[in-house]
């Protein structure tokens, strides 16, 4: 397909639609749709798609959008939706259910600040609040990555070794509303990439099951252990899905993380989504200036690729984590997991948190320079640093 200039939302809507259409040879597709800024264009794209064997159901809330996905997925259909911010918060109960029922639902989340006070700009606190649910979480930096990871998400979710829903995230406006050259998959390519969905636990009159009846503590433990085992298989299966993707589409959707100059780096930054793109430019420039800095761009948040992160930082003494999110009473969410990854492995690595771009604030190369300056000057790790904070002037002062 020729490159098209489209928004991140357009790329996501296209990927969801062609993935759904690809299951026309099996039990079809369904999508419960509900609008919320800045995700709306995604569900508008899906609503306009001429499905051969698919139903788009306009519902009254995000909670029901996931409810429809649950019913459709349990019936053996490829089910998907999209949401954002408070919509994800409203959907939470059913997001959890899709995971506990081991349904390969794919959802695109456009990361937007949680309110009130109301703010529609980029912030990852919405999807990161879902971190303890049985969902794989992937973060994209640009339109092509949104598109590619969305397609890969179906293949990963539907693999019988996984059977977990997948969340694909992108930054509000910075990616969702920004046009860029994107290679949109043709139906023929997606038909080759995605096998027909075969859900082992689907509702079947020939073998009536009761889904979700009461269980005892030992069965609950088994259920959670099976989820953990599936989560632990994700990195390996992801790599297989990635290799297949390269085969069919001729380009690499990327691994659980992308490394820039980490090999001999003394100072490493960890970032995700569009912040990682900015950080990469800074790291490249500082490298040219002779500094031993590197970047770990995280694509996968759940499961958290701990071992890979430790490998990437094996030669470093300082790790600065860039969090465009905030967990009350703690600090950054990425920082918590990054710090935990080194617990018991490295005593000599300083892991420092930087909260920046909260509420959609600009994260500029200068912001990243300030982070590096602080990181390289500090003698020890401390409390999370609120970067680029402008204190409001008192009215009339």
């Amino acid at each position: 397909m020729p490159l098209e200039v489209v928004t991140g939302n357009h790329a996501a809507g296209h990927a969801l639609s062609v993935a759904g259409e690809a299951n026309r040879v099996a039990r079809g597709a369904a999508c419960g749709i509900y609008p919320i800024t800045p995700q709306t264009e995604i569900v508008e794209r899906v609503a306009a798609f001429p499905f051969t064997k698919g139903r788009v159901i306009p519902v009254e809330s995000e909670h029901s959008a996931m409810g429809v996905s649950i019913g459709a997925a349990l019936s053996g259909a490829r089910a998907f939706t999209a949401s954002s911010s408070n919509g994800l918060a409203y959907m939470v109960e059913n997001i959890m259910v899709a995971g506990f029922y081991r349904l390969p639902v794919v959802m695109v989340a456009v990361n937007r600040t949680l309110g009130p006070p109301w703010n529609i700009w980029a912030d990852q606190s919405d999807s990161l609040m879902l971190r303890d649910f049985p969902w794989v979480q992937l973060y994209a930096s640009d339109n092509q990555e949104v598109h590619d990871l969305t397609l890969l998400a179906f293949r990963l979710a539907e693999d019988h070794r996984i059977l977990l829903p997948v969340l694909v995230c992108m930054d509000a406006f910075i990616v969702s509303h920004t046009q860029g050259e994107t290679d949109l998959a043709s139906q023929e390519q997606v038909d080759r990439y995605l096998p027909p969905l075969d859900l082992p636990q689907r509702l079947d009159h020939a073998r009536p099951r009761t889904m979700g009846a009461m269980v005892w503590p030992d069965q609950t433990t088994s259920h959670r252990m099976e989820i953990q085992e599936a989560m632990e298989r994700v990195p390996q299966v992801y790599e297989e899905c990635r290799a297949e993707f390269v085969e069919v589409f001729g380009r690499d959707p990327g691994g659980a993380m992308a490394l820039t100059d980490t090999g001999d780096a003394d100072t490493v930054l960890l970032a995700s989504a569009s912040v990682a793109t900015t950080a990469r430019e800074v790291v490249k420039r500082r490298r040219e200036e002779g500094e031993k800095v590197g970047l770990v761009k995280m694509r996968m948040f759940r499961p958290f690729p701990e071992a890979e992160l430790r490998d990437a930082c094996s030669g470093a003494t300082r790790l600065g984590v860039l969090d465009r999110d905030y967990a009350a009473g703690v600090g950054g969410v990425w920082w918590q997991d990054a710090r935990a990854a080194f617990q018991g492995h490295r005593d000599d690595l300083m892991v420092q948190d930087y909260l920046l771009g909260i509420g959609g604030g600009d994260v500029t190369p200068e912001s990243v320079d300030r982070v590096l300056a602080d990181l390289e000057a500090r003698p020890a790790a401390g409390a999370p640093v609120w970067n680029d904070v402008v204190v409001e002037q008192e009215v009339g002062a």
Binding site: E60, S64, I70, G71, A72
Partner: protein, 310 residues
């Protein structure tokens, strides 16, 4: 066509309904641990028989309610058909997804929401309303025991005035929400009230619902000895009294516009209905007002049935 049956008639015919042995295919299997005198259990059996009679089957979407507990504990289940436990507010949304995929694959079987009054009148109302507005091909059945039964009997918006529950210790002050009027106002093809004391009327309404495309809403008055603090053996008699006294009128609404009344109350004294349930205290009830409200309600329905007959 619109024969109005006497409130006292339609009794004893339960035994003349097609007798279907309780097999694996039954919706509600033997060995379930539901309470004696549970109206919901009787209604499930009647649904099972009506489906067997027409050679149809169903799958169930059940929100949090006694119907969810009915399944029993994994790995056994009391349900003989594909069943999904949904979140409290989601039964209708999950059912919409199920019905969509059933239709895309040209499969048979009713998609039934089996929900209590809490999941219908209260927390699930927006979801039920949305499914009705879309006229999704779902059979939504609310078994109304007028309380949150699973949690030990708290008030819902279906609890009648005067009833004492654990959250209305001195009796509920507010009126019971008219859920059938709300559902009919969506213009759905079929809405009806059903009583397990009127099994032939019950059966006919199920068969009507099976044959109707789109959203069907059935409200079953479902006695709950545990919550109503009544004798299990009185369950059927109590809901019969509710029909006779006009407390629970039996009627149907087609397309939200055309009405049919199915049972004419004989205006039996409702005192007996209240006296046999210890959730009510006679000295807290305004019986003349209750009787007046019942008569007005019936007269309104009878008027609608005459002016806009089905």
């Amino acid at each position: 066509m619109s024969t109005v049956i006497d409130g006292r008639a339609d009794t004893g015919v339960f035994t003349t309904m097609p007798s279907i042995p309780c097999t694996e295919e039954c919706i509600l299997r033997e060995g379930n641990t539901n309470c004696g005198g549970c109206g919901m259990s009787i209604a499930l059996t009647m649904l099972s028989r009506a489906l067997a009679e027409v050679g149809d089957t169903c799958s169930l979407a059940i929100p949090a309610c006694c119907g969810a507990v009915t399944a029993g504990a994994f790995p056994t289940t009391s349900y003989g058909v594909p069943t999904v436990m949904t979140t409290f507010a989601s039964a209708a949304a999950v059912a919409s997804g199920m019905a969509a995929i059933r239709d895309l694959n040209e499969e048979r079987g009713q998609v039934v929401c089996w929900a209590g009054d809490g999941g219908t009148y209260d927390i699930g109302l927006a979801t039920v309303s949305a499914a009705a507005e879309r006229n999704d091909d779902i059979l939504y059945i609310c078994y109304d025991n007028e309380i949150y039964g699973n949690t030990g009997g708290q008030r819902s918006s279906a609890t009648p005035p005067g009833a004492r529950t654990s959250t209305t210790p001195s009796g509920k002050r507010e009126a019971k929400k008219d859920i059938v009027a709300i559902m009919a106002a969506h213009g759905i093809p079929y809405a009806a009230t059903l009583s397990i004391a009127h099994p032939m009327d019950f059966r006919r309404k199920l068969l009507t619902a099976f044959q109707t495309k789109g959203m069907k809403f059935l409200l079953i008055h479902s006695p709950c000895p545990t919550g109503w603090k009544s004798e299990p053996g009185d369950s059927v008699e109590l809901v019969r009294l509710a029909v006779r006294s006009g407390l629970f009128p039996l009627y149907e609404v087609f397309d939200g516009r055309r009405y049919r009344v199915n049972a004419k109350p004989d205006w039996a004294d409702p005192t007996e209905y209240f006296r046999r349930q210890r959730r009510f205290r006679e000295d807290e009830l305004d019986l003349p007002a209750t009787r007046r409200v019942c008569r007005e309600r019936y007269e309104w329905l009878a008027h609608m049935a005459e002016a806009f007959p089905a």
